[in-house]
């Protein structure tokens, strides 16, 4: 682990051609990048290849890469571009990715979500489908903020959105989720009530 500062120093060493720094960056961010690629591509081999392509490209271009403040955010953004390019050259029909849109989307499963206070399976399912129905950009933000733990400043480097609207959007999503969770007991009650009739 390390601070943003530490990693942007490491990044600068790498830009100068330091292979050790390159390895440190690879090892530090590999899992985060792999999680991200796997979520978008839904295929282990493709995700792995995307990571290889990304690091290969970074190494080839290390001399012309910019200085960056948030290395993780920069890498995730670069990976996103790499994935889009990969999808463009790879024909889509063989992939499990939803064919409706050419933009890969984030999808969450109930198994990976935990709720703070109570743990009724039903509400987790509800919550998951609620999150999955959000617009792609909002899901992207949820992923970066709450799965990856990026700060809003970092997220605004990944998605094209300014700081304030990022914060506003997130708060809107959160209050929506909270409201849904609060109303949940009633929902459950209705559900139980209906059960005998079904």
């Amino acid at each position: 682990m390390g601070t943003n500062r530490h990693w942007s120093d490491c990044w600068n060493d790498f830009r100068k051609g330091d292979e050790k720094a390159f390895r440190l960056l690879h090892d530090e961010f590999f899992h985060s990048l792999h999680d991200y690629a796997l979520r978008l591509l839904q295929d282990n081999d493709l995700a792995y290849d995307a990571i290889q392509d990304l690091f290969m490209k970074l190494w080839i271009k290390h001399e012309v890469l910019p200085e960056v403040q948030f290395v993780k955010a920069y890498l995730i953004r670069s990976l996103h571009t790499t994935i889009l390019n990969k999808l463009r050259s790879l024909k889509l029909y063989e992939l499990n990715i939803s064919l409706q849109s050419s933009i890969p989307d984030f999808e969450f499963s109930p198994e990976e979500i935990k709720i703070k206070e109570e743990s009724e399976l039903l509400s987790i399912r509800q919550l998951t489908s609620m999150i999955n129905e959000l617009p792609p950009i909002q899901k992207h933000i949820i992923y970066l903020r709450f799965y990856e733990g990026l700060s809003y400043k970092e997220i605004s480097e990944v998605v094209d959105m300014n700081y304030q609207s990022l914060v506003n959007t997130t708060n809107r999503i959160l209050s929506k989720v909270k409201a849904a969770l609060k109303s949940h007991p009633e929902f459950l009650l209705i559900f139980l009530f209906l059960l005998p009739c079904m």
């Binding site: 392509d53 290969m56 709450f146 700060s151």
Partner: protein
């Protein structure tokens, strides 16, 4: 990282359970980056950088060898290339490490068989071949460095059997067992698992699940068809036997499908079987094949 979060009281009502991290995958990723045999890859060049005086000396010797050698292969360097070429026949090659190559008709393989070593095994393919690569489990994570070069990209082999066919647009690789990875251009990588076919044609790359046996049946003098359309069969005849194929009233070609196995040691036998099974008239006139209903 908490630097800009103070003005958001963020009591997140839910959280994520992250999957367990596979550290060996991370190690493998780094090893793969180092081992990447894309020609001109800077990581390699850097590693060789320390060796450059030795390389320079080697280069001088190599230059002499090239000057005197019969065969010179485009830019690839300091070795004496063995060229194996087939005409209207197939050939089975046994490599020094006991890997096998079945070379199809009208194909060329180039390899440096004199300096064949377990750490550096590479061949150049133009045409079609089936590879049966032996694994070298000598050093732990050091996978068997077997590379098939084609004009459109390189295929890196991780111990396996597979079929590669090159053409003017690119190449088609069909994997039977094991794992291979193709490097197309400088930055594009695609990994294949058994049962998958990779097709590179101009700027499109596609990877799909197919009956891979179809792609390598030629080596056993066998043709395996599985709902294969007659137009695909015609393509196969053109490719395997270098024949011009003329089909009278070609409209019905793709609607006719064939399933089953045909054993055919020579083209004549195959044409005979196709005639019988599909109710066609097939005539061979010189290097042309005329197919009629």
């Amino acid at each position: 990282m908490k630097d800009d979060n103070e003005n958001f009281p963020e009591d997140l009502p839910f959280g994520f359970i992250k999957p367990e991290r596979d550290e060996s995958l991370k190690e493998k990723s780094w090893d793969d980056l180092l081992q990447k045999r894309v020609p001109g890859s800077p990581i390699r060049r850097r590693r060789f950088g320390r060796l450059w005086p030795a390389l320079l000396a080697g280069g001088c010797i190599a230059l002499l060898i090239i000057l005197f050698s019969r065969e010179r292969f485009g830019g690839a360097g300091h070795v004496e290339w063995e060229t194996i070429r087939t005409g209207d026949w197939q050939k089975k090659l046994l490599l020094p490490d006991s890997s096998e190559i079945f070379l199809n008709r009208f194909s060329t393989i180039k390899a440096d068989l004199h300096h064949w070593s377990n750490t550096k095994r590479e061949v150049w393919l133009d045409g079609e071949a089936f590879f049966e690569v032996r694994k070298h489990g000598s050093a732990g994570n050091n996978f068997s460095n077997f590379v098939v070069h084609t004009s459109r990209g390189d295929i890196e082999v991780l111990a396996t059997s597979f079929n590669v066919m090159t053409d003017s647009a690119g190449f088609t690789a069909a994997l039977s067992t094991g794992k291979i990875r193709a490097h197309i251009g400088k930055e594009e990588t695609v990994t294949l698992s058994p049962g998958q076919v990779l097709q590179v044609a101009h700027d499109t790359i596609s990877r799909k699940e197919m009956n891979v046996q179809l792609y390598s049946a030629w080596k056993d003098g066998q043709f395996h068809f599985d709902h294969t359309s007659l137009s695909d069969i015609v393509d196969l005849l053109k490719r395997y036997y270098h024949l011009k194929v003329r089909v009278d009233e070609g409209g019905w070609l793709s609607s006719k499908k064939l399933s089953g196995d045909i054993d055919a040691a020579d083209p004549g036998e195959l044409f005979g079987s196709l005639e019988g099974v599909m109710g066609l008239h097939i005539r061979r006139v010189g290097d042309s094949l005329i197919i009629q209903k």
